[in-house]
């Protein structure tokens, strides 16, 4: 709901100043037409106080109820109705406070007075409608801006996740180190990094790809890590022909393997082995990723954490099942298993 016109203090003054000036003009006109000063004052105060009061009521009501295009006729009728109400009230009020001269003169000039009151209400209605519509639009724009910003932030976050700046810059640093001493390896690594990045950027999440293809890119990723960490990393990938032909959502395994690298390689100091085993079952593809972890540094008891929540969420969105991703530990080995229904 837009803010009330009167929430701005300045508007109080404008409203008061307008009606006071209007009343003074009213008195001046009546005196011109032969009213005494007191009679003119009574007439003016009663008429204009009621006009102002009804206007106030209209402005406040419009805040809660904004007329739409289709009710223009209705608004016109409303103006006439308000004009008549005003007339009734004014007549009633005058009968209490004014003398016969004022009442009679009032009755004689009914047509003119109502003819003035109706456009006054028309203006009030139009102005407040305009004002509140503008406010509402501004509010709407603000909300749109906000939600756009949220979407943009989420996209940026996703992109950043995909590109893994830490991995990227460290890989570039390794290349920089290799260029002089082992230029062939440097060139090879640039090739691998490019293929890996191209795949990351190309893949759309809703795409289903063959496991064999996905494994190829994981091998690229792992071979880059092998250059970075030298002899510390070895990998074992088992993927039979049947499994390689099976399909899975693109980039589903990537975060699982990244996770294995993070806890198995980045957070340990020994030589380690990361294994990926793929098994083709009956209408079910099972992929098991194993990595060691350092129990001194990593505390797997802290739930499934380990950055696998996004994988779990994605599997749930795809298959409406929560049992497709499971994690377990065996001594100092962390085991992630994902099942993909075919």
């Amino acid at each position: 709901m837009p803010a009330s016109v009167f929430s701005i203090k300045r508007n109080h003054y404008y409203f008061a100043i307008f009606w006071i000036s209007w009343s003074i003009v009213h008195i001046w006109i009546l005196q011109d037409r032969g009213y005494g000063f007191k009679a003119a004052c009574i007439d003016s105060v009663v008429s204009n106080a009621l006009l102002a009061g009804i206007s106030l009521l209209v402005i406040t009501t419009m805040r809660h109820y904004l007329p739409r295009k289709e009710s223009v006729t209705y608004l016109f009728l409303l103006c006439i109705g308000l004009g008549l109400v005003w007339f009734g009230c004014a007549k009633l009020a005058l009968s209490y406070v004014a003398d016969e001269f004022v009442i009679n003169s009032f009755n004689e000039s009914v047509a003119v007075r109502v003819a003035i009151a109706i456009p006054v209400f028309g203006c009030v209605i139009l102005m407040s409608a305009l004002r509140y519509t503008l406010e509402e639009q501004k509010e709407q724009e603000r909300r749109n801006g906000e939600s756009e910003r949220l979407v943009r932030d989420a996209e940026l976050y996703k992109l950043r996740q995909q590109l893994q700046p830490h991995f990227l810059f460290n890989s570039l640093n390794s290349i920089s180190a290799l260029i002089i001493s082992r230029p062939d390896e440097a060139r090879e690594m640039i090739q691998q990094l490019s293929d890996y990045l191209r795949n990351t950027l190309r893949k759309e999440e809703h795409l289903w790809v063959k496991l064999g293809e996905e494994i190829h890119y994981l091998e690229l990723y792992l071979s880059i890590e092998k250059v970075r960490f030298g002899h510390r990393l070895s990998t074992v990938i088992q993927c039979g022909d049947a499994a390689c032909e099976m399909k899975l959502p693109a980039m589903l395994l990537q975060p699982i393997v990244e996770n294995a690298i993070k806890f198995g390689l980045y957070d340990t100091t020994e030589n380690i082995t990361i294994s990926i085993e793929c098994f083709a079952g009956d209408r079910l593809l099972t992929v098991t990723v194993k990595n060691p972890f350092d129990p001194e540094v990593t505390f797997p008891k802290k739930g499934t954490g380990f950055g696998l929540n996004s994988v779990r969420k994605r599997l749930f969105l795809l298959f409406a099942r929560n049992d497709l991703l499971s994690v377990s530990t065996d001594e100092h080995i962390f085991i992630t298993q994902v099942k993909i229904p075919q």
Binding site: H166, L168, L172, N173, S174, I175, A177, T269, V297
Partner: protein, 247 residues
Amino acid sequence: MYKVLIIDDEPLARSIVREYLKEYSQIEVAGECADGFEGVKAIGQYQPDLIFLDIQMPKINGFEMLELIDRPPSVIFTTAFDEYAIRAFEAHAIDYLLKPFNKSRFDKALRNWLSQRNADGVTPFPSDLLSTAVQTPLQQSRVVVRIGGKIKIIPTQDIRYIEAADDYVKIHTGSDSFLKNKTMQYFEQLLDARQFVRVHRSYIVNIQQVTRLEPYEKENYIAILIDGLKVPVSKTGYLKLKQVLGL
């Protein structure tokens, strides 16, 4: 002759620093370390004048490693991408190298250090850098301590309470207690304020450990922990505790 250590978990990253250092005859590479544990040991052993230090490393990161050293040498940080660290460096006007860096950028940082070193001897390490740099999600979840030659990582959820002990603080976990050369104020800032409350000038308590509060003398209280231990609570500590517990 200045002694230098290169501490980075990637061998190629270390080799690039070594290569860039070749032409500096006044500098000798005393050693290379692949993680923070090795770093602590080597710094104790070689007493280097300068270390090149990576931030993200296995076991403990570069900042945690520096925390364990009583008088850290000069440091040139090298990092690939670490928003928290870079914010801390910028805040303290500390030079750092963003990987990958070229020779001229490296030379600039090193010449800077050499000229400062020649001008006023040892430049003191800005210890307030660490208190800014440790305010990362990772470091708010654990505390690294050194017991003799050993280094231990304590998850903050295992901390029952922390007690002031002269120039040190004593961190109590279920089974042990560890001394660390830091102030109470440091831990009050570091630890998650929703879980740890400074209930007394000399005590910070893990609120998940508190079973009940008992009045004790005038306006003071005593907090009874799960294992029956009693921790004094001052008047202001009591107010803070009430606020965190939502009473």
